[in-house]
């Protein structure tokens, strides 16, 4: 059996030219990894510097002074356990809404061919074109006074989650993914006697693992870093997420850049760990579910 992940198979690799290509790819990827990781690492390491060192000339690559006492200070000022908990809950909801609501929409628009579907899709596409700043305040008004029912949704995650459910980007993404699924595959399954639903659960869902995984990851990291609407809506300390706190800290002229970076470090560590742990599962999902001929 030939092993291959892409163009280059084991057999190809034995040829000299392919070996050169393969190793140049590896070199390029190592450079890419350095560009992606080193700047962040440098900034994070710098967060234990003193403010003086931060601005010193010539600058230090590795910190000279280590101010670890700043960490307990930061933790005594802000309840990070609660911040983490809130943020996780918020992110989980965002992932769920992104996948289910946008996924269903994408599937329906792509494969169900409902009457009016084209109109819906055109509208969604056009909302992606119009700038969102036009409607910020009307959105805010809807949150304070929910249409028809009149609830006030301040300090609740629901409006934020529902905004995730209205992600034109993800709908379009899902739709174009489903569009790429060969129609023949679904037709064949139908001829074999599968109903719409079993086509969906048996064929479409397993095939969509890559896109679901991708959207889930992106939704999670998007939600983790989201600050604007959470900042507008979550005013109560008990529901605030970590980015809301950081945004507030950044606005605060009374806070040194080193303290801010320390808080930032702790805001990045959890998702980073999460990805290190989960990446095997998530990323394996990609390979395993690739359509094999």
């Amino acid at each position: 059996m030939k092993e291959r992940t892409g163009i280059i198979s084991n057999v190809n690799y034995k040829k000299g030219s392919y070996k050169v290509i393969y190793w140049s790819i590896i070199v390029l990827l190592v450079i890419m990894a350095a560009i992606c990781i080193l700047p962040v690492a440098w900034v994070l390491i710098s967060s234990v510097k003193s403010l003086d060192e931060f601005y010193s000339v010539p600058p230090t690559i590795l910190p000279r002074s280590f101010h670890f006492e700043a960490i307990p200070e930061l933790f005594s000022r802000y309840d990070f356990t609660k911040l983490y908990g809130n943020t996780l809950l918020y992110c989980a909801g965002c992932v769920l809404f992104n996948i289910t609501i946008n996924g269903l929409m994408g599937y329906s628009l792509s494969k169900m061919k409902v009457k009016g579907g084209v109109v819906v899709f055109t509208i969604i596409l056009s909302t992606y074109m119009l700038p969102t700043t036009v409607c910020m305040a009307p959105v805010y008004k809807n949150i304070i006074k929910f249409p028809i029912f009149g609830f006030n949704l301040m300090n609740s995650y629901w409006p934020l989650w529902m905004m995730c459910g209205a992600s034109a980007y993800n709908v379009i993404l899902f739709k174009s993914f489903f569009d790429d699924l060969p129609a023949g595959l679904l037709e064949a399954a139908k001829l074999d006697g599968c109903g719409d639903l079993s086509v969906f659960t048996r064929i479409v869902l397993p095939l969509s693992k890559p896109i679901i995984a991708t959207v889930a990851i992106m939704a999670f990291s998007g939600a983790w870093g989201d600050f604007f609407w959470p900042y507008m809506i979550l005013k109560d300390n008990n529901v605030q997420t970590i980015m809301v706190k950081i945004y507030a800290m950044q606005q605060d002229t009374q806070m040194g850049i080193n303290t801010l970076l320390l808080a930032i470090t702790f805001s990045i560590i959890p998702p980073a760990i999460l990805f290190v742990f989960f990446q095997k599962h998530i990323m394996n999902g990609f390979t395993m579910s690739g359509i094999k001929g």
């Binding site: 000022r77 305040a137 609830f151 949704l153």
Partner: protein, 461 residues
């Protein structure tokens, strides 16, 4: 069957959303009972973020409840932020009393989100007790829209360490201050030569810090002729000022490399001994002490240097404003609350005690307490009261801390119209001059003048 499952998925989603909407609605509290007048007071400190301030506010609250049991104070943590004010105000999320920087007052009034408080303002005597220049901060079209919480004027601050290093101190160890712009330039050059650090800077992203300098150079920005505003800063004075700034950068090289500087950046550079002197409102010093751990003994200050037209300084401050939906009973409660806080004209003994408490906290935090603050009141008795309350906490070295106020200083408030827009226009020219060595200054100024006329003065007024 497939229908059922899909249907039920959809149903569950919709239902769960609805229940959560309802539960969210259920948790919203009713505010106060009817017999009491309740007011929401913004800018309330958060317990976990600033415990000292929080304690102070608890003290105010206790005193308020004791003296006026019929008033219910509802703490609100709302803090003004330019980017979120409008949607927050439009949807009624602004507390009855909120605090804003002076630059925002006219904009908020124009947008209709502040109440005219003239009546109570006069009733509580603010209109006669405050200095005229301070009154200007809260007056729009002859009506009062806010109560000044504090006021500051722009002065100069100096980093003592760098001045010492450069040998710019007299026998007593007092930094030698520049008194005019040529001296300022020479001082900056000496600093740069001796220490390698930047001699001078100012925030290039917020144009209002430049106004003092511009007025001192004799720049007139606008004038009203027959009710029509005309931009008048396409003048030799403005060109001189810009040439001066350009020379600081390209001839003398005494400014920091980084020229896109916001207030926060300038403060951090100054506090970490990277720049020797800068224009600064009087309230900066304690901000830098508490935020960046700068020693108060490393700071020295003086009035702004004089230019060809004299020594002008801009007055600023933080203002309490009142939301437009506030009733007259609530308005009354707010002014009583201001009295309790010690912002009012009359200070009773307990109010003085609470002021002392505040100075004590500052003292313990090693912030600078001086008797040279700029007072917003012209009434001598009120000024004396505060001086006495401070007395035992004064902690600065008098040879380094000067009053930034001097007799020949001319105080000015913001330009009358489109000030925010003017700041942006000026920032743009300054940024261009500082990034482009060959910038054609007269052409830039001419262009800016006509653009400001066309884009703002003609359209907005």
């Amino acid at each position: 069957m497939k229908m059922k499952i899909v249907k039920s998925i959809a149903l569950v989603l919709v239902m769960s959303m609805c229940t959560c909407l309802i539960s969210a609605c259920g948790t919203s509290k009713k505010e106060g009972d009817d017999s009491k007048v309740s007011v929401k007071i913004g800018y309330w400190p958060q317990k976990d973020v600033s415990p000292d301030n929080y304690k102070l506010y608890e003290g105010y609250l206790a005193a308020m409840n004791e003296k006026y049991p019929e008033i219910e104070i509802i703490p609100d943590h709302y803090e003004y932020a330019a980017d979120t004010f409008l949607p927050a105000a439009a949807s009624g999320q602004i507390p009855n009393m909120f605090r804003v920087p002076f630059t925002e007052v006219s904009k908020i009034v124009k947008a209709g989100y502040a109440a005219d408080i003239s009546e109570k303002f006069k009733e509580f005597g603010f209109d006669t007790a405050l200095k005229d220049s301070v009154l200007d901060l809260v007056t729009v079209d002859g009506k009062y829209y806010g109560v000044p919480y504090n006021a500051y004027i722009v002065g100069m601050i100096y980093n003592v360490k760098l001045f010492e290093e450069a040998g710019l101190v007299d026998e007593e160890g007092k930094p030698i201050y520049p008194t005019n712009f040529e001296e300022l330039r020479q001082t900056a050059i000496t600093i740069k030569e001796k220490t390698g650090k930047a001699g001078f800077t100012f925030p290039t992203n917020s144009g209002w810090m430049l106004m003092s300098m511009a007025w001192s150079f004799g720049v007139d920005f606008m004038e009203q002729i027959d009710g029509k505003w005309t931009a008048t800063f396409d003048s030799p004075e403005m060109i001189n000022l810009m040439q001066y700034i350009s020379d600081l950068k390209w001839k003398d090289n005494v400014l920091p490399e980084n020229i896109l500087l916001a207030v926060k950046d300038v403060q951090q550079l100054f506090a970490t001994d990277q720049v020797a002197c800068t224009y600064a409102p009087t309230d900066w010093a304690n901000g830098m002490i508490s935020a960046y751990g700068m020693s108060k003994d490393n700071i020295s200050n003086s009035p702004v240097p004089a230019g060809p037209a004299g020594a002008y300084t801009q007055i600023g401050g933080d203002i309490w404003m009142v939301s437009p939906d506030t009733t007259s009973e609530q308005m009354d409660a707010i002014f009583k609350w201001l009295d309790i806080r010690g912002n009012g004209l009359k200070l009773d003994d307990s109010a003085i005690e609470r002021q002392k408490e505040r100075y004590k906290t500052q003292y313990e935090k090693n912030e600078a307490i001086t008797n040279m603050d700029f007072s917003i009141f012209k009434e001598a008795e009120r000024v004396e009261q505060i001086k006495k309350a401070k007395e035992e906490y004064l902690n600065v070295d008098e040879k380094r801390w000067n009053t930034v106020y001097s007799d020949n200083l001319i105080l000015r408030a913001e330009e009358p119209v489109d000030a925010q827009q003017l700041y942006q226009v000026i920032s743009s020219i300054v940024q261009e001059i500082l990034t482009n060595q060959n910038a054609d200054i007269p052409a830039l100024v001419k262009q800016a003048n006509s653009n400001f006329q066309r884009d703002f003065l003609d359209k907005n007024n």
